[in-house]
């Protein structure tokens, strides 16, 4: 590959990381103010609306909840979300805003999709342009893209308050956190982003699909002449914005962010990547701010950045070497299968890393067609638990569970009952961290085992051999960790996968969420232990490195055998020349 391409790609990566890092503090402190219930510069515009919502819903904003009340509120709200989305999808044939007259979803697909959007996963077994009405896309799916993101952030706030408060009982008010997160953070960011995306060519309308004539007619698979193209339409930009901002990832169209109507230019691509990382990165600062030491937030940011750059470099390297099997056929350079020309290699691998390191799951290239190691990286980023910036809220709370485990072992190694941010880490914290960190991995291992023993599930693989195994592994990794991207060759719209993936999404989302709240409930009751020389400093290089090691080792040890039989052996086969 030409050297100047590498330079431009490096420039793009550097620009992204610099801009992201510069935005961490302003956005992070803004979000801290939002969740502290303080006035912000948007208050003049939004406070009346906020107050109106509280009035209509009869919410007393000063009434604080303990962890159980908080958890119950969260579960009821999300349960309600599943019911509503499920109903809308099944009944969309009778609902308005359906110019293409799409019929209702089958019940298993409807359930899968409802769970998928409520859990912030956005795993899509349906093809948007061919199955979902505008009503479903906007009022069911997009609304959940806001609400699932806001509820992930709310849970994180409860955990942060668990660290920040001491000898207390309550963790805040779920309804208020949910409302403020939606109104003050997600909506303004999405609005700005959406309008910018329209400027780049992302469509935004409620028109029926447009029929146009092809410049040159072609033949279809059956040999019939095709002279027309039907262009799908819809309010794409609005959804595109929250899809990235809320790390949802559910595209309006089947091809997701590879689709020119979702991601038309290199700049829209760059901005979408930035949007994916923005809130998760900013929340590290919010966290540091709220626990009283922004250094603690930066430490976590650095650990995430470190993992991100490591993953990105591996992915870039793997992809830049291309596919030797294809090269042998006389096609030099990188593999373009599944990639878009306009994004280039840099824009493609950057998107893949960002979307899988967070729980976004939007894609601008087809991960199924990446080289084996190129596919291993997104898979591994997902399997690590979506913590490399992570999903909005969920990324940081999972990361904090890793921190708890890392602090625990490191604390023992320096001869102290481990403490983090002045809170002693004891049996309860250990149980809950283990649930938060390992539940998704356990779901993946069990569900993959089951799938491999079900002939119907094996038949759904699009690719043979080791790559087929990777597809199934990726499917459950993605759903259990609420990512939503796929090795999309797998035909996942079957009863088996719809239901198994729905189960994986529910377990992977709510088991950790409840565990986070339980841990917050335990932490908030503890008294504050001031740091001394004997306290492990968690904002310094040695601990950050240790944290990264713990994350990588837990991930590697859990998945090494199955990865060896999937991407690793495929890589060896590819290099060995079949």
């Amino acid at each position: 590959m030409e050297n100047h391409v590498l330079l431009f790609d490096l420039a793009q990566i550097a620009a992204l990381l610099v801009i992201l890092t510069l935005l961490v503090k302003p956005l992070g402190s803004y979000m801290a103010r939002v969740y502290q219930g303080e006035r912000t510069w948007l208050s003049p515009a939004l406070a009346p609306l906020e107050n109106l919502l509280y009035k209509v819903a009869a919410i007393d904003r000063d009434q604080e909840m303990d962890w159980k009340q908080y958890a119950v509120a969260m579960l009821i709200f999300n349960g309600l979300g599943v019911l509503v989305v499920f109903a809308v999808l099944l009944l969309q044939g009778w609902l308005p805003l359906n110019p293409e007259k799409f019929p209702g979803f089958s019940w298993d697909l409807g359930l899968n999709t409802a769970v998928s959007f409520v859990t912030n996963t956005n795993w899509q077994s349906y093809s948007g342009e061919a199955a979902a009405s505008y009503f479903s896309q906007v009022l069911a799916l997009m609304v959940q893209q806001f609400l699932s993101a806001a509820s992930g952030m709310a849970i994180l706030m409860a955990l942060i308050r668990g660290f920040a408060r001491h000898t207390a009982e309550t963790l805040g008010n779920f309804w208020v956190d949910l409302t403020r997160g939606t109104l003050y953070i997600l909506l303004p960011l999405s609005l700005i982003a959406a309008i910018f995306l329209v400027s780049q060519g992302v469509i935004q309308n409620f028109s029926p699909y447009v029929k146009t004539t092809l410049i040159q007619s072609v033949q279809d698979a059956k040999g019939n002449a095709v002279t027309e193209q039907t262009l799908p339409m819809g309010p794409v930009a609005a959804q595109e914005a929250i899809k990235e901002v809320g790390t949802n990832g559910g595209g309006f169209f089947n091809a997701n962010s590879a689709h020119p109507f979702e991601n038309p230019t290199p700049l829209s691509n760059f901005v979408e990547i930035l949007l994916i990382l923005l809130i998760p990165a900013g929340l590290t600062y919010t966290f540091g701010r709220l626990v009283g030491s922004s250094r603690q937030g930066w430490a976590i940011y650095v650990a995430m950045l470190f993992l991100f750059i490591g993953a990105l470099a591996t992915l870039y390297l793997a992809e830049s070497h291309g596919n030797p099997l294809v090269q042998k056929l006389g096609v030099p350079g990188i593999s373009m299968e599944g990639k878009e020309v306009r994004f280039g290699l840099g824009g493609s691998v950057l998107f893949s890393s960002a979307t899988t390191g967070t729980s976004c799951g939007a894609v601008n290239n087809m991960h199924d067609s990446l080289t084996p190691i190129g596919g291993l990286v997104p898979l591994m980023l997902i399997l690590l638990g979506e913590i490399v910036f992570g999903g909005v809220g969920s990324g940081l709370y999972t990361m904090l569970a890793f921190v708890v485990i890392a602090v625990f072992v490191a604390g023992l190694m320096i001869g102290r009952t481990p403490e983090y941010l002045g809170k002693k880490l004891e049996v309860m914290e250990m149980w809950m961290s283990v649930v938060i960190v390992l539940s998704a991995g356990i779901v993946v291992l069990v569900f993959v085992s089951v799938a491999l023993l079900v002939p119907e599930a094996v038949k759904a693989m699009a690719n043979p051999g080791a790559h087929g195994l990777s597809e199934v592994l990726y499917a459950f990794a993605s759903t259990a960790n609420n990512n939503g991207s796929a090795f999309a060759g797998l035909n996942a719209n079957t009863g088996f996968y719809n239901l198994m993936c729905a189960a994986a999404m529910v377990l992977g989302r709510f088991a950790p969420k409840v565990a986070v709240l339980a841990m917050a409930g335990s932490l908030v009751r503890k008294k504050y232990v001031p740091p001394s020389l004997g306290t492990l400093p968690t904002d310094q290089a040695p601990f950050i490195i240790w944290l990264v090691i713990v994350i990588v080792i837990v991930g590697a040890l859990t998945f090494f055998p199955v990865l060896a039989m999937g991407p690793i052996v495929e890589h060896l086969i590819m290099r060995g020349g079949l």
Partner: protein, 188 residues
């Protein structure tokens, strides 16, 4: 239970806010500020008949046209109702067979040198309107032959139609095949 009532009321409120007001505002601003973009960058032929969208690629097989990338959409290539890639894995024999066939077809068309990757491997969306600038230039001789045009003139056209890096560093040098072929048809 009070929490259920609260949840329902808040759910309705937020659905209205995020599901009605928000997309409404985006549509309004989008349609007013960027009407062409919001409607999909539709283009017309010289005679005014609709010719698709500048963003959505189209299939070309005639030697008179610049060829676009292979598309793996179902039913027919560049079917916008079935966007998506082939999802063939790197070691899948089907992929290797497809690539080998396309390489052979390009060779048969007289394409000099090694086959460019974007002409033998399908895009992720199946609707990619672009090919790399070099890939377009490689096809100049064939289109020139097909249309009886001078290669230099065509090469100039391609260069005129080329899109550079956005902001000077984003993306790659590329050509929009739909736009290029429309311009080609408008030539003379």
């Amino acid at each position: 239970m009070k929490a259920i009532r609260t949840a329902m009321l808040l759910f309705i409120c937020l659905t209205v806010t995020a599901g009605v007001i928000y997309p409404g505002v985006v549509t309004l601003i989008g349609q007013l500020a960027f009407p062409r973009q919001a409607m999909g960058n539709l283009v017309q032929k010289a005679d005014g008949s609709p010719a698709g969208s500048l963003l959505i690629g189209q299939p070309f097989s005639d030697p008179k046209y610049f060829w676009s990338r292979p598309s793996a959409t179902s039913d027919f290539p560049y079917n916008p109702l079935a966007s998506g890639g082939s999802n063939l894995g790197p070691t899948n024999p089907d992929l290797l067979k497809q690539v080998a066939d396309r390489v052979a077809a390009l060779k048969a068309s007289g394409l000099p040198g090694p086959a460019p990757a974007d002409l033998v491997m399908a895009s992720g969306s199946g609707l990619d309107p672009h090919i790399r600038l070099e890939t377009a230039l490689l096809q100049v001789y064939r289109v020139a032959g097909g249309r009886g045009l001078q290669e230099d003139r065509l090469r100039r056209l391609v260069q005129e139609q080329a899109e550079g890096r956005q902001l000077g560093f984003l993306g790659v040098d590329r050509v929009n095949v739909v736009k290029l072929n429309l311009a080609l048809d408008n030539l003379k």
